[in-house]
Amino acid sequence: MSLRTTVAVVMFSVLVVFFVSTALMLSFGDPMKTEMDDYIIMHTQNETGTNSGITTVVFDYRGFDTLGEATILFSAVSGVLMIFRRVKN
């Protein structure tokens, strides 16, 4: 058995074990329950006055995440306009 076949067999078995153990650990469509979920579901309407909890998490509790996303979009627009700057004239 050559080295490539050995590596391929080992990688394939690792992948199979990974996927099977993950599929056995969590049932599909039923996420793990944590304390953070309960805190956000219980306190989001009182603290921020929002009826949609996801918007509260995205813009208020995890606002820096959205700030990073805005930075990514800004740098993408800057890069595209800089690459195609010759188009304008």
């Binding site: 309407q45 009826n51 805005a70 195609f84």
Partner: protein, 158 residues
């Protein structure tokens, strides 16, 4: 890029206002229903890009200035960071929701549990949704517009 056939143009003319209304609804009701600035902005930019594909990029490129769209994109980013800095100024920390109980607008706090959706709630979140929506509309549209116009040029000088 030249424009497509008459069937495609007529169908996109019919579908365009509905996509616009749905996108602005998703942006404006971001604090009440699923969706928000990014999702609604992506829907509105999708409608504009449908017109871009149907009518050809040179026709759209003559109608709209790229620099103006870029200004809108920067204004959205500045509005988002500005609202966050107002939280630092009035409330004490970055991203503070300073309008939620004592502001003029958006100051109603609903009861905990399943309540009816009131538009006048949620503090600074509608302002942030609006800023991010303007930013995403202008950003995604200007990316595709410039790339489409660059692909439509006949000779590309090296």
């Amino acid at each position: 890029m030249s424009q497509m056939s008459k069937i495609v143009r007529t169908l996109s003319n019919i579908a365009f206002p509905f996509i616009m209304i749905f996108g602005f609804y998703v942006i404006a009701h971001g604090h009440l229903t699923p969706g928000g600035g990014f999702q609604g902005g992506a829907v509105v930019a999708s409608g504009c890009i449908m017109l871009l594909v149907a009518y050809g990029s040179t026709w759209v490129f003559e109608k709209i200035k790229v620099s103006r769209l870029s200004v809108f994109e920067s204004l959205g980013a500045l509005g988002f960071i500005g609202v966050a800095f107002f939280g630092l100024l009035f409330g004490g920390w970055f991203f503070n929701n300073f309008l939620v109980r004592n502001g003029i607008l958006f100051n109603i706090v609903p009861k905990t549990g399943s309540t009816a959706a009131e538009f006048n709630t949620a503090g600074v979140l509608p302002l942030m949704n609006f800023a991010v929506g303007v930013k995403v509309i202008a950003g995604l549209f200007v990316i595709v517009l410039v790339m489409a116009y660059a692909s439509s040029l006949k000779e590309w000088k090296q």
